[in-house]
């Protein structure tokens, strides 16, 4: 066993940090660490915090972590911010909202860039969550990039998904649309000290009353993340969802679904990497040119690419 794993198992945060980097980067070394640590994961309550840009996800995550610290629990946080589609660079600024927690030895905050992943997370998010879980944090928060309507990946990564809404950001038709609202296990109206909060709560409640019940009512909580109002109640609601998962048998179903999704998405990534490795820039450029010039359709071009990739 490597020195870094030993130090990780002894609870050394520097070792956690270094392993996270390698696992995030998906290096061969990182994959080996993940292979060794994965059997130790599965104990944490993983909680996704998602919602629009500026909805208060980071502040709320910070407040939730503070409340859990008051209750004596250690907390891991993974905060995802977008990478530039042009330079692949990123500014990761979620820590700014979590200043109070920086020096708390019971909290570990790690920023991740989305690195081209769609869906509000990062390509290796599940691996990074597993490492945080294996380190022994009983609660691990995953804060998505600012999500709009369709970034639903978080529901596959986290056991409990919290959707953060704000008053004054759209009429009830927005809430009627399919997509992100369907994945919420707990709904939050944050910035509830602003006008329109009560109306939004009743709109959300009316909307939920129309949805088929899955044996559990989805709670709607009002919070003001910056003051901490409503945060203890939100922690209770998150804990209640976990308890429901345990007693209803949903936990096993969720874990199987999550595992299936992960295996398939890694397989997809491996195949894509293989195709890119086996395809010369010239061949790719040629196909791209034909599609751009409308002499070939994208499906036929992709099929040719896949066939060539496998032929080698």
């Amino acid at each position: 066993m490597s020195d870094l794993i030993e130090r990780f198992l002894a609870g050394e945060r520097r070792a956690l940090s270094r392993i996270l980097t390698r696992v995030e980067n998906g290096t061969p070394e990182g994959r080996e660490y993940l292979r060794q640590l994965y059997p130790r994961s599965g104990r944490a309550h993983t909680i996704g915090i998602t919602g629009g840009a500026g909805s208060g996800k980071s502040s709320l995550t910070g407040s939730l972590a503070s409340e859990l610290r008051k209750r004596g629990h250690e907390v891991g946080v993974i905060a995802v911010d977008p990478s530039s589609p042009f330079t692949q660079g990123a500014i990761l600024g979620d820590r700014i909202r979590m200043q109070d927690l920086v020096l708390d030895p019971g909290v570990f905050v790690r920023s991740m860039a989305s690195r081209g992943a769609l869906g509000g997370l990062a390509p290796t998010i599940d691996d990074v969550v597993a490492v945080m879980d294996a380190f022994g944090f009983p609660y691990v928060f995953i804060e998505t990039v600012g999500a709009g309507q369709d970034e639903v990946e978080i529901a596959g990564t986290a056991l409990t998904t919290v959707l953060v809404n704000n008053p004054g950001t759209g009429d009830d038709i927005q809430a009627l649309k399919a997509g992100i609202i369907e994945i919420a296990d707990v709904l939050v109206v944050n910035k509830a000290d602003r006008p329109g909060a009560d109306v939004l709560v009743s709109q959300l409640r009316a909307l939920l009353s129309l949805a088929p019940s899955e044996g559990r009512d989805i709670p709607i909580l009002s919070t003001v993340a910056t003051t901490g109002d409503g945060v203890p109640e939100l922690v209770d609601a998150i804990d209640e969802h976990r308890a429901w998962l345990d007693t209803s048998g949903e936990l096993d179903r969720h874990r199987r679904q999550e595992a299936r999704h992960q295996v398939l998405s890694v397989a997809q990534r491996i195949l894509l990497e293989q195709i890119r490795r086996e395809t010369s820039e010239e061949t790719l450029g040629d196909l791209v040119g034909q599609v751009a010039g409308r002499s070939l359709d994208p499906h036929t071009a992709a099929e040719q690419l896949v066939e060539q990739g496998q032929a080698v």
Binding site: Q99, A113, L118
Partner: protein, 144 residues
């Protein structure tokens, strides 16, 4: 979590240079720090920005948790000879010996030797071209 071919898979398993940009001390002018953060972002780095009024412990702890390759400190208050040694000490006490350090802001020429002795590899003063900062980071950081 599919990577579309237009945003190629290179980012997924690629190794990015991670940089912490921090502002120690009590002055609240962070425009320079933000410009440097932005330039490094445009240069393809992943930049962790922690905001103003950071204590030496907060900076070192953020560097540890984020496993950064480089720490850049911005200071205008004149307290660099007070604060920087404490930051270096906090980094060392956490085992972060291999982090590349640079700083920028209002820093008199006569302090250069002292800062270099502390472990700062570069000092960027007003008028610096941001390209030089990006080049410095790429030349000195060994991302893994």
């Amino acid at each position: 979590m599919t990577a579309s071919p237009e945003t190629p898979a290179q980012g997924e398993t690629g190794q990015k240079i991670r940089v912490l940009i921090a502002k120690p001390g009590l002055d609240g002018h962070d425009r320079g720090a933000k410009i440097v953060a932005r330039a490094l972002r445009d240069g393809g780095c992943e930049v962790i920005y922690t905001g103003i009024r950071q204590t030496p412990q907060m900076i070192a702890e953020a560097a540890l948790q984020e496993d950064v390759d480089v720490v850049g400190l911005s200071i205008l208050s004149g307290a660099h000879l007070e604060l920087f040694p404490r930051i270096v000490e906090e980094l060392r006490s956490r085992g972060l010996d291999d982090v590349v350090l640079f700083c920028g802001g209002i820093i008199p020429e006569e302090d250069t030797d002292a800062l270099e002795a502390m472990g700062f590899s570069a000092i960027f003063r007003p008028g610096t071209n941001t390209r030089d900062i990006v080049s410095f980071v790429y030349d000195n950081a060994s991302s893994e």
